[in-house]
């Protein structure tokens, strides 16, 4: 077990950001924390990377205790934070060199390693360019190269593709996967993008500081038995009652429509539309995704939180960011 977390809690005054969380990660695994913003993902990472002391419980990485042996833990991990932590006034090479010195890499080895990592993330041509002139995707790639520069055993990725466009997101993941195999590292990541969580070998779904489900993506999807049918009608409350009466299925309100779970959705839809007394506006069928797993477990969608409460989330974001830095 390269990461071992037992009954970990972290409180900020009255707020319990991480609530009695336990999990462990095997060497070589890609383990993901999936949950909405403010669920406690970043706080967990901050405890694991020794930026925050836990209120209670234990965490260890590569056999080193996060509280008692912070320097050994720090040497064994590479970190990529939500927001970029590059110095934009320095060049790519200077940023990497700074990192090499902080981690006390041998000078000659450092030069070789810097060139090697720049090559892998395809930034060799930009070695002497200032970070100011880099795109978001290039910055992320450089951060990945930097995070792996000192041969860590675990790479932490906190929302690695936040704010990047889908195409760049895919490229970043190609790099992460290449490097993971090349360097034989364990990856611990957090995300609130479902598609991104699919990259994980194993996922823990976290909400309000607690792990509410854990397993492989396929296994988690089994929690949502059957398919998802979304329907919107002229009279949703009445439709809920009718669906309950006819099929004995509970339909729930979601995003101004109805949401229900059934076996063999494609056969169910015609029956459903036929049985309803009001006019159907739209209907759609969806095979289960991790988002549905989350919805099933919590009654909310992850994206919902982001859309509905963008301002609040942003505020929470800033707060958690500030907290992390204190």
């Amino acid at each position: 077990m390269i990461i071992k977390v037992q009954n970990l809690s972290r409180q900020f005054k009255s707020l319990t950001a991480v609530d009695n969380v336990s999990f462990s990660v095997e060497e070589g695994e890609v383990f993901g924390f999936l949950g909405p913003n403010g669920a406690g993902k970043t706080t967990t990472i901050n405890v694991l990377c020794t930026l925050l002391a836990p209120t209670s419980g234990n965490a260890s990485i590569a056999g080193f205790d996060c509280r008692a042996q912070p320097d050994q833990v720090r040497s064994s991990i590479g970190l990529i934070f939500q927001d970029t932590t590059l110095d934009t006034g320095l060049t790519a090479y200077e940023n990497l060199k700074f990192h090499a010195y902080l981690y006390n890499l041998d000078r000659k080895l450092a030069e070789k390693r810097i060139d090697e990592m720049l090559e892998v993330v395809e930034l060799t041509a930009r070695k002497r360019d200032l970070i100011k002139n880099f795109s978001g995707g290039m910055k992320r790639r450089l951060e990945i190269a930097r995070g792996l520069l000192h041969y860590p055993r675990v790479l932490f990725l906190d929302e690695p593709t936040l704010g990047l466009d889908p195409q760049t997101r895919n490229t970043i993941w190609e790099f992460i996967n290449t490097l993971r195999q090349r360097e034989r590292i364990t990856v611990f990541m957090t995300t609130h993008y479902m598609e991104e969580a699919e990259n994980c070998g194993r996922i823990a779904i976290i909400d309000h500081g607690r792990i509410i489900a854990e397993g492989t993506p396929a296994k988690l999807k089994e929690l949502v038995r059957g398919d998802i049918v979304r329907i919107s009608t002229d009279d949703d409350p009445k439709a809920i009652a009718e669906i309950k009466g006819t099929f004995d299925i509970i339909a729930r309100n979601e995003n101004g429509g109805l949401f229900l779970e059934t076996e063999r959705g494609e056969e169910f839809i015609p029956k459903l539309i036929h049985s309803l007394s009001m006019r159907t506006r739209s209907v759609s069928l969806e095979k289960p995704t991790l988002n549905d797993v989350f919805l099933k477990l919590t009654g909310r969608t992850i994206r919902d939180d982001v859309l509905r409460d963008d301002k609040e989330v942003t505020r929470e974001f800033v707060r958690s960011h500030r907290r992390a830095q204190r």
Binding site: P70, R74, T85, L86, D87, G89, F98, L102, Y103, N104
Partner: protein, 255 residues
């Protein structure tokens, strides 16, 4: 606890950035030139020379002190900048001590301030002052001490600031008063008692007085040095040690 390679590379980063930002260098050099030749010449017509020193020559040690004050504060405020733009995290998660970060920032801030103070010395021929090689090195020595003191103070302040909002407050309620209550532009001993007490707790007062000892060698108050040199050096050294210790402690707690 003190790791030399991280300290070295933290300093190196500051130097690279300092020389890359030409506007910052220009700004710190333009300010004393403006004070000296515009304000200094203007005031000279009001204040007659004494002991062979003109008002222009009198404010020169103060202008070195001012250059150090602004440069040191600016260097240490870069900690707030680093925190705001995330780079601080890169240092905080590295296997290095908080003390190494503080020392790295203090040493680099000191060097940058001293470099700027030395550059100001090229104005000497325009002021009618003559200095020996020995005096030059004395100025550098005092500059190192004063720069270190003010940078440490700046780091202590920066450790308390969580955002840039506090920066203007620091400038208006600390840096400017420190300059005006330091003896840079007028002698402090002739000030009203209330203000005089404030000047006595200002480390810059003693730093500038030490510069006056070196540069206005035979001067007497009000235009010459006002305190014994030993007292100046003692106070600046003591405040440096206190400030750096407090900075290291508060940095450890805050981050």
């Amino acid at each position: 606890m003190i790791q030399l390679r991280p300290i070295y590379v933290i300093c190196l980063r500051e130097f690279i950035k300092f020389f890359r930002e030409k506007s910052r260098l220009l700004g710190t050099l333009a300010r004393p030139v403006l004070w000296l030749f515009v304000v200094g010449n203007g005031m000279s017509s009001l204040i007659p020379p004494r002991d062979g020193f003109s008002y222009l020559q009198f404010i020169f040690p103060g202008m070195i002190g001012m250059t150090i004050l602004f440069s040191s504060i600016f260097s240490s405020i870069s900690i707030v900048w680093d925190r705001e733009f995330g780079f601080m995290k890169e240092m905080l998660v590295a296997p290095i001590s908080r003390l190494s970060i503080v020392i790295g920032k203090a040493v680099s801030g000191t060097f940058i301030s001293v470099a700027q103070a030395v550059i100001i010395l090229v104005l000497i021929p325009f002021l009618g002052i003559q200095i020996t090689v020995m005096q030059f090195f004395e100025v550098v020595a005092v500059a190192i001490l004063v720069s270190f003191c003010i940078t440490s103070m700046g780091i202590l302040i920066a450790a308390q600031l969580t955002s840039f909002d506090g920066f203007n407050i620091i400038m208006n309620f600390l840096v400017m008063p420190m300059l005006f209550l330091s003896g840079a532009m007028y002698p402090v001993t002739s000030m009203p008692p209330a203000l005089r007490h404030l000047t006595q707790i200002n480390p810059l007062t003693y730093g500038i007085d030490a510069f006056k000892h070196v540069l206005l060698r035979n001067g007497t108050p009000p235009l010459g040095p006002e305190f014994p040199l030993a007292l100046d050096l003692l106070v600046v050294t003591a405040i440096s040690i206190i400030m750096l210790t407090l900075a290291a402690l508060s940095f450890r707690k805050k981050e």
